[in-house]
C-alpha cells in the first residue's frame, strides 16, 4: 500500500511538473499574471508530492518490507536503523529519488522565497526547473522505479553493500546532491534570462546566493566523500583521480568560477555573457557527473547497478539539456548588452584570470576523465589515465592561480594598482619566504618542491590575513578603531578571507601528506612491534567478534611514543555473510592534525598483514574545505546577499555606533 502510494505520488509530481513547465511559459508570453502564478503553486505542490514519495520509500526501508524489490536487494532486517534509512539512497533507484526530491526542494524554495522576483522571470525560472524535473521523473518511472513489487516476497533481504554501511553514506550523497542539484537554479536563471533576452545586476544578485548555497554543499560533500574513502577503503588514500571523483570536481571548479564571475556581474554589470555560459556549463557538468556515475559507463562502487536503457536515457537527458541550452545561448547571447569597461589590472581583471585558470583546470580534468572513454569508442584501445596525468596538468595550472589569489581582493574595481597591492602583500611574501627557508633547512636540502608549495600556501593564507589587516587598518590605527572597522566590514569580505585561507590550509595538508607520509607494511603476530615516525605500535591480540550483521576479526594495538603509552587502536576486518563480502575498518589515532592509520590484511597462522601509515597534517586536507564552506556561509549571511533579500541593507553596518 505504501509502495503504491509512493509510486502514485511520484506520478502526480510528474503531472504537476509538466503543468509547471508549460503553463507559466504561456502566461509569460501572454502577459497573464494568473497563468504565471501557476508556477508558484505547482512548484510547491510538486515538492510536497516528491517528498511524500521519498518518505514512502524511507518507510518501506525502515519497516523492511521485502516485497519491494528495492528493499529486498539493499536491506536486511538485522541492519541497524541508521543504515536502513541511509540505505534508501545507497542504491541506484533510491539515489535518483533523492536527486529529484532535492530538485523539487530547490524549485519549492525559489517559489516560496521568490516573491520579490519579477513575475515573468520567476515564471520562466520555475518552468525551466520543471523541465529538468519532468525529465528525471520520467527517467525514474520508466527505467528505475524504486517501488516495484516482487510476486513472491522473500523473508530476508540481500543486505546493503558493506562498504556503504557507514555514517558517511548518511552525509556524503545528500550533501553532494544538494550541491549538484543546487546548480540547477543558476542554470534555470541563466536559461530564463536567455529566453527573456534581458539580464541585469539584479539577476546576478539573485543567482549568487543560490550558487553559493550549492557551492557550499558541494565543497562539503566532496570533502566528506574524500574523508570517507580515506578511512573506509583502507588504502589510506584520500583522492584517487577516479572518474567518479572527477565528476564531482568538475562542477566544483566551474561553480567556483561562476561564483567569482557573478561577483563581477553584480558589482560592475560586466561579464554577463560569460556568467550565463558558466551557469549553463556548471549544471551541464553536474548532469554529466550524474550520467557518468549512474549510467554504468564507469564501473565503480558508485555505479550501483548497470543497465543499458538507463545509460541511454540519461544520455538523452544530457544531450537535450546541454545541447538545448547551448543552442539557446548561441542564438540569444549576442542580444545581451555588454556591460562596464575595466582595465586588465583591476579586480575584474583578477576575477577574469581566476575564471580562466579554473575553467582551464576544469577542462584538463574533463579531458583526463573522458579521453579514455572516447578513445575506446573510436579505436578500441583501452587506456587508463591516472594520478600522474592530473598531477602533470592540474597542478601546474593551479600554481599561477594560487599566486594570484591574494592579489585579487587588494585590487580596486575598474583600474587597480598592482604595485600597491604587491607592497601591501609584502608581509605575506616575507612569511612565505620564511616558511620556505625554514622547511628547506629542516629537510636538509631535500627536494625544494614541497617547501616551495608550502611557501605558496602560506602566501595564500597570509595574503588573506593581509587583506583583512589592510581593511581594518590593524597595526596603523588604534586597536579599538581596528576592532570597530572589523565589525563594520561586510560579512562577504570575511567570507572571502576565510575561503581563500581555506585553499591554503588544504594545500598545506595535501603537500605534507603526500611528501612526508610514512608507511609500514608487514605481517605481525601478537607481541610484535612496528616502528613508524617515532611511534611504537605493538600488536597485543587478535580476536573474533560477532556484530549485528557481520563477523569481524579485531586486532588490538597499543601505540606508544618515547616509551610512554598513548592509546589503543583496534582496526578490524569484517565479513558480511549476507553478501559474502568483507570490508576493512581502519583505525585512526588523531594527534593534533596528524593521524596514525592502521588497516588489516589477510591472516595466516597467527600472523596478520598490517598496513600502518603516519600521515602528517593530513586533517588539514579536510579542514581547508570546511574553512572554505564556512567562508561561503559567512558570505551568504551578508545582508546584501541573503537569500530572498536582494535589496541592499538600509544602512551600512559600519555607520552604526559601536556598542
Amino acid at each position: 500500500m505504501i509502495a503504491e502510494a509512493g509510486h502514485y505520488a511520484l506520478v502526480l509530481a510528474l503531472g504537476l511538473a509538466l503543468i509547471q513547465s508549460t503553463v507559466p511559459m504561456l502566461g509569460a508570453r501572454w502577459h497573464d499574471a494568473a497563468l504565471m502564478n501557476v508556477a508558484r503553486s505547482t512548484a510547491l505542490a510538486q515538492l510536497l508530492f516528491a517528498l511524500a514519495s521519498f518518505a514512502a520509500l524511507v518507510t518501506l526501508h525502515v519497516t523492511s518490507d521485502f516485497s519491494v524489490v528495492n528493499v529486498f536487494e539493499n536491506s536486511h532486517s538485522l541492519k541497524p536503523l541508521i543504515y536502513k534509512i541511509t540505505g534508501v539512497w545507497g542504491n541506484h533507484e533510491g539515489s535518483m529519488l533523492l536527486w529529484v526530491s532535492i530538485l523539487a526542494l530547490f524549485g519549492g524554495l525559489v517559489a516560496a522565497f521568490g516573491n520579490n522576483l519579477p513575475l515573468s522571470l520567476r515564471a520562466h525560472v520555475l518552468a525551466v526547473q520543471a523541465w529538468i524535473a519532468s525529465a528525471f521523473y520520467l527517467f525514474i518511472l520508466i527505467t528505475s522505479n524504486p517501488f516495484l513489487r516482487i510476486a513472491n516476497p522473500p523473508i530476508e533481504g540481500r543486505d546493503l553493500n558493506p562498504v556503504l554501511q557507514d555514517i558517511g553514506l548518511a552525509v556524503h550523497p545528500p550533501m553532494l546532491y544538494l550541491g549538484y542539484v543546487g546548480f540547477s537554479i543558476s542554470f534555470s536563471f541563466a536559461v530564463a534570462a536567455l529566453i527573456e533576452g534581458r539580464i541585469d545586476a539584479a539577476w546576478a544578485r539573485w543567482v549568487r546566493p543560490w550558487t553559493l548555497v550549492a557551492w557550499i554543499f558541494l565543497t562539503l560533500g566532496i570533502a566528506m566523500g574524500s574523508y570517507w574513502a580515506y578511512y573506509e577503503l583502507g588504502w589510506g588514500g584520500w583522492w584517487f583521480w577516479d572518474p567518479v571523483e572527477n565528476a564531482s570536481l568538475m562542477p566544483w571548479l566551474a561553480g567556483t568560477a561562476l561564483l567569482h564571475s557573478a561577483v563581477v556581474m553584480e558589482k560592475r554589470n560586466a561579464l554577463k555573457v560569460w556568467t550565463i555560459l558558466l551557469a549553463i556549463l556548471t549544471f551541464s557538468l553536474s548532469l554529466l557527473g550524474t550520467f557518468l556515475v549512474r549510467s554504468g559507463v564507469l564501473t565503480s562502487v558508485h555505479a550501483f547497478a548497470t543497465d543499458p536503457t538507463r545509460g541511454v536515457f540519461i544520455l538523452l537527458i544530457l544531450c537535450t539539456f546541454i545541447g538545448g541550452s547551448l543552442t539557446l545561448y548561441a542564438w540569444r547571447a549576442s542580444a545581451l548588452k555588454q556591460g562596464g569597461l575595466f582595465a586588465p589590472i583591476s579586480r575584474e581583471g583578477a576575477l577574469v584570470l581566476n575564471n580562466l585558470f579554473l575553467t582551464t583546470a576544469c577542462a584538463t580534468v574533463f579531458i583526463g576523465t573522458l579521453y579514455p572513454l572516447a578513445l575506446e569508442v573510436l579505436t578500441g584501445d583501452k587506456i587508463s589515465v591516472g594520478a600522474p596525468f592530473f598531477n602533470l596538468t592540474f597542478a601546474p595550472l593551479f600554481v599561477p592561480l594560487m599566486i594570484a589569489v591574494p592579489f585579487g581582493p587588494l585590487l580596486a574595481w575598474k583600474r587597480g594598482d598592482l604595485l600597491g597591492a604587491a607592497q601591501r602583500l609584502m608581509a605575506a611574501g616575507i612569511a612565505a619566504l620564511i616558511a620556505f627557508a625554514v622547511l628547506w633547512a629542516w629537510t636538509r636540502g631535500g627536494s625544494a618542491l614541497a617547501p616551495l608549495a608550502i611557501g605558496l600556501a602560506v602566501f595564500v593564507i597570509a595574503g588573506a590575513l593581509c587583506d583583512l589587516a589592510e581593511r581594518t587598518g590593524l597595526f596603523r590605527a588604534p586597536v579599538a578603531t581596528a576592532v570597530r572597522r572589523a565589525r563594520g566590514l561586510p560579512r562577504s569580505t570575511w567570507g572571502t578571507a576565510f575561503a581563500h585561507a581555506g585553499v591554503g590550509v588544504a594545500l598545506i595538508g595535501i603537500v605534507c601528506e603526500t611528501t612526508w607520509n610514512s608507511e609500514y607494511i608487514g605481517s605481525m603476530k601478537a607481541g610484535d612491534v612496528a616502528k613508524i615516525a617515532g611511534y611504537e605500535v605493538e600488536l597485543d591480540s587478535l580476536a573474533q567478534r560477532q556484530g549485528p550483521n557481520f563477523r569481524e576479526m579485531v586486532a588490538q594495538f597499543t601505540v606508544s611514543l618515547d616509551g610512554r603509552r598513548l592509546s589503543e587502536m583496534t582496526p578490524s576486518k569484517r565479513n558480511y555473510p549476507a553478501r559474502g563480502s568483507s570490508t576493512t575498518e581502519a583505525a585512526l589515532l588523531t594527534r593534533g592534525v596528524s593521524q596514525l592509520y592502521i588497516s588489516l590484511g589477510d591472516t595466516a597462522d597467527g600472523t596478520i598483514a598490517v598496513r600502518i601509515y603516519h600521515k602528517p597534517l593530513v586533517l588539514l586536507i579536510w579542514f581547508g574545505p570546511v574553512l572554505m564552506a564556512f567562508g561561503g556561509m559567512l558570505s551568504l549571511s551578508d545582508r546584501r546577499l541573503r537569500v530572498g533579500a536582494p535589496k541592499p541593507a538600509r544602512a551600512p553596518r559600519g555607520l552604526q555606533p559601536a556598542e
Partner: protein, 162 residues
C-alpha cells in the same frame, strides 16, 4: 586603452593560458597514460620491460604463493597465455584464485610482471570492465560470473556502440 585593445589583451591572455594547458595535456598524455593488456596481448605485442601497463586476467587456480614479508606471486591467465606476477603488499579484500584481477606495473627483464598496484574489487561479482570485455572477445567468458558482470559486459559493448 580602447575597448578593442582591452579585448585583445583578454583574448591574448586566454590564448596563452589555453596554449599552456594544451602543452601540459599533450606532455602528460605522452608519459603518463597506461594501456591495458591481457597476457595473450603481452605475448603478441612484445611489450618492453619497464613499460608500465595494466594487466588483466584470471588468477590461475593453485598459482598463489605467499612468500616472506608479504611478498606474493601468482599467475594471471586469459586462456591463451599466462604471465607470472610478483607483488609485495596487502592484496585487496576480495582477491581470490579463479577470479578476475587487474594489476598495474611493468615487466622485469626475466619476464615477470612486477605489480605495484593490485586493484580492489568492490563486490564478489564485480569484474573490471576491461577484463570482462577482453575475456568475452576471446570466448573465455563463463556464465557463472553472475548476472551483474554480464550486465557490465553488455554495458561495455553499449559504450562501444555509442
Amino acid at each position: 586603452m580602447t575597448r578593442k585593445q582591452r579585448r585583445l589583451t583578454m583574448i591574448g591572455g586566454s590564448l596563452t593560458v589555453l596554449a599552456l594547458a594544451v602543452a601540459l595535456v599533450l606532455n602528460a598524455m605522452r608519459d603518463s597514460i597506461v594501456f591495458f593488456s591481457t597476457p595473450g596481448m603481452v605475448a603478441e605485442k612484445h611489450i618492453l620491460p619497464g613499460k608500465r601497463f595494466r594487466l588483466g586476467g584470471l588468477v590461475e587456480n593453485g598459482s598463489l604463493v605467499r612468500g616472506d614479508n608479504l611478498a606474493v606471486s601468482f599467475k594471471v591467465s586469459d586462456g591463451n597465455a599466462t604471465l607470472p606476477v610478483a607483488y609485495k603488499g596487502i592484496l585487496p579484500d576480495l582477491f581470490r584464485e579463479g577470479q578476475g584481477v587487474v594489476a598495474e606495473g611493468a615487466l622485469d627483464p626475466s619476464g615477470v610482471f612486477r605489480a605495484d598496484t593490485v586493484l580492489a574489487k568492490h563486490d564478489e561479482n564485480y569484474m573490471p570492465r576491461d577484463l570482462a570485455d577482453a575475456l568475452k572477445k576471446q570466448g573465455h567468458w563463463k556464465d557463472d560470473y553472475g548476472a551483474k558482470t554480464d550486465d557490465n559486459a553488455k554495458q561495455a559493448k553499449q559504450g562501444v556502440s555509442q
